[in-house]
C-alpha cells in the first residue's frame, strides 16, 4: 500500500510541485491550503506523513502542528516542515510545536522524498 502524505501549503505553485514530486514517488497525496483546512481534511485523509508550510493565512504552520499533536490519534504522525534556512528561530518554534523534521526550500524532489521516507514509520 502506498504511503499517504498530506501537504499543507497556501501557494498553488508549491502545492503543484509537491503533488508532482510525491505522485512520481508513488505516494498517495492529499492537499490542504492552510492550517484550518489542513485540520479539516486530516480526518478524511488519515495521512502517515504530513508536510506543512509555515507562512499561511487563517492558521499558520505552528498552529496547525499544535492542532495535529493535540489529537491523540495523530500524535505519532511525523510532520515535516517546509522552511527557509534564513530563520532558525522559526525552525525551533516548529520543533517546539511538535514538528518531526524539516525540508529546506527550495527543495529537490529527491530530497523531499528522501526526507519523507526518513521519517515514515
Amino acid at each position: 500500500m502506498s504511503l499517504k502524505v498530506l501537504t499543507v501549503d497556501d501557494s498553488r505553485t508549491m502545492r503543484d510541485m509537491l503533488m508532482l514530486a510525491l505522485k512520481d514517488a508513488g505516494f498517495d497525496v492529499a492537499q490542504a491550503v492552510d492550517g484550518v483546512h489542513g485540520l479539516e481534511v486530516l480526518g478524511q485523509s488519515n495521512p502517515q506523513v504530513i508536510v506543512t508550510d509555515i507562512n499561511m493565512p487563517r492558521m499558520d504552520g505552528f498552529g496547525f502542528i499544535e492542532g495535529v499533536r493535540k489529537d491523540p490519534r495523530y500524535r505519532g504522525v511525523p510532520i515535516l516542515v517546509l522552511t527557509t534556512e534564513s530563520d532558525p528561530a522559526k525552525k525551533d518554534r516548529a520543533r517546539q510545536a511538535g514538528a518531526t523534521g524539516w525540508i529546506v526550500k527550495p527543495f529537490s524532489p529527491a530530497k523531499l522524498v528522501e526526507a519523507i521516507r526518513r521519517v515514515a514509520a
Partner: protein
C-alpha cells in the same frame, strides 16, 4: 507540455495574484485601512513569490524578494515603523518585484542597477549595512539537509562509527522514532545495534510518554561523520547523542564472518523490543483519554472550519466555457424557434404544450444566466493595475495624484474586462497628464495640491458603467476649438455647443500623436478609445466643468453574447432594438407630430418635443413615410440622456437574442450594432440606437458638419 513547465505557468499566474494582493495590502496600509493581518498577508505574498522563484532557480528575482521580505518581516515584527515614507519605498519595491517577475516570465532583462538601488533602500530601512542587503544573493538557503559537499576520506576512519543515542521524551513527542533512524543507518552500511534497557523502570513506575531506552549502534562503513550526523539531524537536541570513530578491528579476524553474524540479530531485535514496549504503553492512552469526546468534537470542529473555508473553485479551460456559451446561444435560438412553431400551430396558450414551452423558456433563461455568470469576473483585476500606472505617471509629470477606486467588485464578462484595460489605462493617463494641474497651479486655484482621479464601476440598467473622473481644470474649450480649427476639422465660423466642443476630442485626427497603434502610448487620440469602446457595443461620453474637472463615462454591455431586445418590423425587414435603451412605446397621434424645416419632424411626448426618426428612411430601406401615425414609436434614450422617438411599422414582441457580430462576418454598418438569428432561422439586424440618433440629426455624438446643418 512538461509537467514542470506547466507548474511554472501556474507560478506566474499565482504571482500575478500575489503581486496584486501585495499592492492592495500596501495601499491599504498607506490609507490606514490595514491591520495586522494585512501586513501578514503582504509578507506572505512576497514570501510565496520568493519560494516559487527559488524552486525555479530565478536568482535575480529571489535575491530581490529576499531583501524585500526581510524588510517586511521587520515591519511585521513591529521593529520597523509602518509609516508613509516606508510604504512609498515598499510600493516601489512591489513594482520592482513585479518587473522581476515579468522579466523571469518573458525572458527579458530587468534594470539590475535600479533593483540593486531599491534593495539598498530597503536594506537601509532595517539598518543593515547596504552591502549585505543590496541585491547580493541571500545566504544560500539550502542546505542543511541535502547538498552538503561530501568530504571524502579526511575524517572517515577505516572502521566506521559508533553512535550512542539516548532519546529524551521530547523526541517521541515529535513523532520521531528510533526505528527509522536505525533504518537510515543500515542504508549507510552494515550495522549492529545493542539495546540498553537498564533505564527501564518497573511497569508500575513506567510513564507512558517517558523515554527509558538507549542504543549503541556500530556502523561499518567508510563514510564521513557528517553523513552519519545527518541521519540524526531531526532528533538533535531531543536526545543525547555521540558519534565516535569505531575502534579499528584487531587484525586477523574474519571481518566478513563477523559482519554476517552482526547483521543477523542486529536491527530487528531492538525494533521488536521497542514494539513490545510500545504495545504495553499504547493502551494507556485511550484509557486516559476516552475516544468518545474526541469523536464528538471532531466533526463539530470540522464543520465549523468548513464554514470558514473559502468556496471551492475549479480551473477550467476558457475554450470549454466558450463552447458552452455558444451551445447555450444555440439553445436560446432553438427554443425561440420552437416557440414560434408552436405559436403557428395554433395551440391555445393554456395548452400543455404552450405551458411546457413557457417552463422551457424559463429554464433556458436560467441556464443562460448561470453560464454567463461563469465568465463574469469583478473588474478588480483591471482596477488593480491602475495604482502603479498612477504612481508612474504622477512621478513623470511631477503631479501629486491620489487614485480613488469604487465598485471594484462589479462583475462583467471576462472578455469585456480584458478589453477594458486599454481604454481605462488611456483615460487615466489623460486625466493625470491633461486633466490635473500642477501642484502649484492647484494651490493657486485654491485646491489641494494633490489631485484626485476617480475610477468607478457600477451596474446601470443591465450595462456596466465605468467612470474616470478628475478634479482638475476641466476641458479648455477655447483651446480645443482652436486646435480643431487649426487642423481643419471644423469651420472657424462654426457655432458649437459646449457638449459638441467636448466631443471634438473624439474626432480622428484631433490628437497630436503620429502613432495610433499603441493605445496606451502617450498622446494617442481619444478616437482610438472611442472606437475600441464602440467595438464592444459601448458608448463613451464626457462631462466637464471648467475649474472643477472632467468625467469620462463608458457604458458597456455586461456580456457580448446575448441581449434583451424588442423585435420590430420596418418595411419587410425585422429589426431588434436593445431593450435597455427603450423607455416606452407609444402610438403617435396626428396632432402630436410637427414638422421642423424641410426634413425634420418632432413628436410631442407629454410636455416635451423629441425628434421623430423614421428608421426605415434612416437605414435607407424606403423613403420617409408621410403617415407616421400608421406606425409605432419607440421612445429611446441615449447615454447622454438625449431622447428620440424611433418610428417603426410594428412591434412583434420582446425576446432574448444571441448576438452575432456583423463586423466579424461582414463589415461595420452605420446604425447597426450586430445581427442575430431569429426563431424562424432568418437573420435580423440589431439597431445601434445611439448611432441612429447621431445619423439623423441627434446631438449626443454629433458630427460637427451635421451639427452645423441642423
Amino acid at each position: 507540455m512538461d509537467a514542470l513547465e506547466q507548474i511554472k505557468g501556474t507560478f506566474f499566474q499565482e504571482c500575478q495574484e500575489l503581486l496584486a494582493d501585495l499592492e492592495a495590502g500596501l495601499m491599504a496600509l498607506e490609507t490606514g485601512e490595514g491591520d495586522d493581518e494585512t501586513i501578514n498577508a503582504v509578507f506572505r505574498a512576497v514570501h510565496s513569490v520568493k519560494g516559487g522563484a527559488g524552486a525555479f532557480g530565478m536568482d535575480d528575482l529571489v535575491a530581490f524578494a529576499h531583501v524585500f521580505e526581510t524588510t517586511l518581516d521587520e515591519m511585521r515584527g513591529g521593529r520597523l515603523a509602518i509609516d508613509e515614507p516606508a510604504l512609498k519605498i515598499m510600493l516601489r519595491a512591489a513594482d520592482m518585484l513585479s518587473d522581476h517577475v515579468g522579466a523571469a516570465q518573458h525572458g527579458t532583462d530587468v534594470d539590475l542597477a535600479r533593483s540593486a538601488a531599491l534593495a539598498g533602500e530597503l536594506a537601509a530601512m532595517t539598518q543593515e549595512t547596504p552591502a549585505v542587503g543590496a541585491a547580493a544573493p541571500p545566504e544560500p538557503e539550502a542546505d542543511e539537509m541535502g547538498f552538503t559537499p561530501l568530504k571524502v576520506g579526511l575524517d572517515s576512519p577505516a572502521g566506521g562509527w559508533r553512535v550512542r543515542i539516548r532519546p529524551a521524551a521530547g523526541m517521541y513527542a515529535k513523532a520521531n522514532d528510533i526505528a527509522p533512524l536505525l533504518r537510515e543507518m543500515e542504508r549507510l552500511g552494515p550495522c549492529t545495534a545493542v539495546l540498553d534497557d537498564d533505564g527501564l523502570p518497573d511497569l508500575e513506575a513506567l510513564d507512558a510518554e517517558g523515554a527509558y531506552l538507549a542504543w549503541t549502534i556500530d556502523l561499518t562503513a567508510d563514510c564521513p561523520r557528517d553523513t552519519v550526523a545527518e541521519v540524526f539531524e531531526f532528533v538533535d537536541g531531543d536526545c543525547s547523542l555521540s558519534i565516535e570513530p569505531l575502534a579499528v578491528e584487531p587484525p586477523g579476524l574474519d571481518i566478513e564472518a563477523l559482519l554476517a553474524q552482526a547483521r543477523q540479530p542486529a536491527p530487528p531485535a531492538p525494533e521488536g523490543e521497542v514494539q513490545a514496549v510500545i504495545d504495553q504503553v499504547v493502551p494507556a492512552i485511550p484509557v486516559a483519554q476516552p475516544d468518545a469526546p474526541t469523536d464528538a468534537a471532531g466533526p463539530a470542529r470540522a464543520s465549523a472550519a468548513a464554514a470558514n473555508a473559502s468556496p471551492a473553485t475549479i480551473r477550467v479551460d476558457l475554450e470549454r466555457v466558450d463552447r458552452l456559451i455558444d451551445l447555450v446561444g444555440e439553445l436560446v435560438i432553438n427554443q425561440a424557434m420552437l416557440a414560434q412553431r408552436v405559436g403557428e400551430s395554433g395551440f391555445a396558450r393554456s395548452s400543455n404544450v404552450a405551458v411546457g414551452l413557457d417552463e422551457l423558456e424559463q429554464l433556458t433563461r436560467e441556464i443562460q444566466d448561470s453560464v454567463m455568470a461563469i465568465r463574469a469576473q469583478p473588474v478588480k483585476s483591471v482596477f488593480q493595475r491602475m495604482p502603479r500606472l498612477v504612481r508612474e505617471i504622477a512621478a513623470s509629470t511631477g503631479k501629486e495624484v491620489r487614485l480613488v477606486t469604487e465598485g471594484e467588485g462589479t462583475e462583467v464578462d471576462k472578455t469585456v474586462i480584458e478589453r477594458l484595460s486599454d481604454p481605462i489605462t488611456h483615460m487615466i493617463r489623460n486625466a493625470i497628464d491633461h486633466g490635473l494641474e500642477s501642484p502649484a497651479e492647484r494651490r493657486a486655484a485654491g485646491k489641494p495640491a494633490e489631485g484626485t482621479v476617480r475610477l468607478a464601476a457600477l451596474h446601470r440598467s443591465g450595462r456596466i458603467v465605468i467612470e474616470v473622473g478628475d478634479d482638475g481644470a476641466g476641458i479648455n474649450r477655447p483651446r480645443v476649438r482652436q486646435i480643431a480649427i487649426d487642423k481643419g476639422l471644423i469651420d472657424p465660423e462654426a457655432l458649437l455647443s459646449d457638449e459638441e466642443v467636448d466631443n471634438l476630442l473624439f474626432l480622428p485626427g484631433f490628437s497630436t500623436a503620429s502613432a495610433i497603434s499603441n493605445i496606451s502610448g502617450r498622446g494617442v487620440g481619444m478616437d482610438v478609445v472611442k472606437r475600441s469602446i464602440q467595438a464592444l457595443g459601448g458608448r463613451i461620453t464626457i462631462t466637464s466643468n471648467p475649474g472643477k474637472g472632467s468625467t469620462f463615462t463608458m457604458s458597456l454591455p455586461l456580456t457580448l453574447a446575448v441581449l434583451d431586445g424588442m423585435v420590430v418590423s420596418v418595411g419587410d425587414q425585422t429589426l431588434v432594438t436593445p431593450l435597455t435603451s427603450i423607455i416606452e412605446t407609444l402610438q403617435p397621434k396626428p396632432a402630436d407630430v410637427r414638422t421642423l424645416g424641410p426634413s425634420s419632424r418632432v413628436i410631442a411626448v407629454r410636455d416635451a418635443f423629441v425628434p421623430l426618426i423614421d428608421i426605415g428612411a434612416v437605414l435607407g430601406w424606403r423613403p420617409e413615410t408621410d403617415t407616421p401615425c400608421a406606425g409605432v414609436c419607440l421612445l429611446v434614450e441615449n447615454e447622454g440622456g438625449g431622447r428620440a422617438a424611433l418610428l417603426v411599422d410594428g412591434i412583434q414582441g420582446q425576446r432574448q437574442v444571441v448576438i452575432k457580430s456583423l463586423e466579424a462576418n461582414f463589415q461595420q454598418v452605420a446604425g447597426i450594432a450586430a445581427a442575430t438569428i431569429l426563431g424562424d432561422g432568418r437573420v435580423a439586424l440589431i439597431l445601434d440606437v445611439d448611432a441612429v440618433i447621431a445619423l439623423r440629426g441627434g446631438r449626443a455624438t454629433a458630427i460637427p458638419s451635421l451639427a452645423l446643418a441642423s
